[in-house]
């Protein structure tokens, strides 16, 4: 392995940008906001008791995805607003061409619908009350079929790459993650940011031990303070509970992969953020309002974190893995990027992009990251990822309070 292929982990990357013509992808233009990379009808549960009907409708109609909920019924106050807002966020995501809400009763359904309608996309509603599941499935299936037909009349058009917001994730990490997939993702992120796009890194607990390096990249004191405060809240939580966080961070599979401490994991995870300046700190699911690299304060587990990205409007996610974690997101296609030669063999069905050349043939991180950027553009234009092909996708909105 050459020295140049190692340095980009924390060293300087010289970006050659500005010479190319404006980069584009083939996306679905929306009445408002950024273009989508998919054009699904989202069948969204307004609360957990609707999930069986949501799944049945989505299974019956091509061109739809099921977005299931946990809880919501019984949540109250700010916690309820948060839950309904999160569901609406997934409906507002640019990848969604129309929304069918499946509710128990009209009031809560309307609360979600009213947050999605301003996007101008069609929103329909069906309810379990008073006629029960069979009638609800029948009505919902007809509505979804009509919406999917309508959506299928849209055509992909050339859209500026700056329309993309990409979530940067890692899971099932090992020591190869910090040396291969994460720095390659970082290079891709730098390229996208240089082209006017937006990236979001998250997983607050995975900054413990590397926060000083990331904080130094904040564009101003406020951003720096907000970021450091989020990491401190996370560490204080572990300290306040009287536990050594190491039982779950690094996780047992991380340790089997050679990661020893959360600090080591954090230094590898940070490589996903490339070298761009940190321009903003977002709350859970909060959409960025400017372009560039953002940090989102949200839990680290893959399903939960990818859901937060989807809520915030990310159209795609890049997910680095070492020992392997196959899960993708329902709303935002998730590319699995891996440099561990063993995992690339054993879990190949679930992986999208191979960066093992950094070890096996001294490929440079810059070259691999540039190739990844091209693959991201392809996926944005319609090429499927493994988690779509095999339908290994899940939704989990975080929960911060207890119910009534």
């Amino acid at each position: 392995m050459s020295r140049t292929s190692i340095r980009p982990v924390l060293g300087a990357i010289s970006l050659k940008v500005g010479k190319n013509m404006a980069k584009t992808f083939l996306g679905y233009r929306r009445a408002q906001g950024r273009a989508g990379v998919r054009n699904w009808i989202a069948v969204i549960s307004v609360m957990d008791n609707c999930n069986p009907v949501t799944r049945a409708i989505s299974q019956a109609v091509a061109g739809t995805i099921p977005v299931t909920a946990m809880f919501v019924r019984g949540q109250f106050g700010a916690d309820l607003e948060f839950a309904l807002g999160a569901l609406a966020g997934m409906g507002r995501n640019p990848n969604i061409g129309g929304v069918l809400l499946v509710g128990l009763e009209p009031e809560s359904t309307e609360a979600v619908a009213s947050l999605i309608r301003p996007t101008g996309k069609p929103v329909e509603r069906v309810h379990l009350q008073p006629d029960g599941t069979i009638e609800c499935i029948a009505r919902g299936t007809r509505l979804a079929a009509r919406m999917a037909l309508q959506a299928s009349q849209a055509r992909r058009e050339s859209c500026p790459i700056s329309d993309l917001t990409i979530g940067l994730e890692c899971g099932g990490s090992d020591t190869t993650s910090g040396l291969s997939c994460n720095p390659a993702i970082g290079r891709m992120a730098d390229r996208l940011v240089a082209d006017g796009g937006t990236v979001i890194i998250s997983e607050t607990s995975e900054f413990i031990g590397a926060e000083h390096l990331f904080a130094a990249r904040a564009i101003d004191e406020q951003v720096k303070r907000d970021f450091l405060a989020a990491v401190k809240r996370m560490e204080d939580l572990a300290v306040g509970r009287g536990v050594n966080m190491r039982d779950s961070q690094p996780a047992p599979d991380n340790k089997r992969g050679g990661l020893t401490t959360v600090e080591e994991k954090a230094l590898g995870a940070l490589a996903k953020a490339g070298k761009s300046p940190l321009v903003g700190v977002l709350g859970y699911g909060q959409p960025p309002v400017r372009q560039g690299l953002h940090f989102m304060d949200a839990p680290s587990a893959a399903v939960e974190n990818l859901t937060a990205f989807a809520i915030s409007g990310c159209q795609l996610n890049c997910f680095g893995t070492g020992v392997g974690n196959p899960i993708g997101n329902m709303v935002s296609p998730t590319l699995k990027i891996c440099g561990n030669t063993n995992t690339l063999q054993s879990m190949r069905d679930n992986l999208d992009f191979d960066v093992s050349a950094v070890f096996e043939s001294s490929a440079s991180i810059a070259d691999l990251g540039d190739q990844l950027y091209e693959r991201v553009t392809d996926v944005a234009s319609g090429t499927l990822v493994t988690s779509e092909l095999l339908n290994v996708r899940e939704t989990a909105v975080s929960r911060f309070e207890r119910s009534l």
């Binding site: 190692i6 009287g242 020893t260 401490t261 600090e263 080591e264 561990n340 063993n342 070890f359």
Partner: protein, 97 residues
């Protein structure tokens, strides 16, 4: 020869990118040259000590502190959870516990 990568000149651990057996010499790549003879089997992706670390000493990777040695670690030893502990988020060590 099995390969291991040194990410920063000050690092006292290196990462194996091959699986290696006790007694084998590993080639150091990246920010240091030379070889280290393994005292134990070390799996792919795991770390080996390349500079003696006393008990309580800082473990350096990427030129950054990734934890502390819970016992002295000698060159060629497998460096992992059995001899390294995190220094952060340690609620179990908080005052009054």
């Amino acid at each position: 020869m099995p390969r291991c990568i040194v990410l920063h000149p000050t690092d006292n651990v290196a990462t194996l990118i091959d699986t290696a057996r006790a007694g084998e010499d590993c080639t150091l790549q990246g920010e240091r040259q030379g070889a280290v003879r393994l005292l134990q089997d070390v799996a792919f992706g795991h770390k080996v000590c390349i500079t003696e670390v006393p008990r309580g000493g800082e473990i350096l990777k990427y030129g950054q502190v990734i934890g502390r040695a819970t016992q002295s670690i000698t060159v060629g030893e497998h460096a992992h959870v059995q001899n390294i502990d995190s220094a952060r988020a340690r609620g179990d060590l908080a005052e009054g516990r």
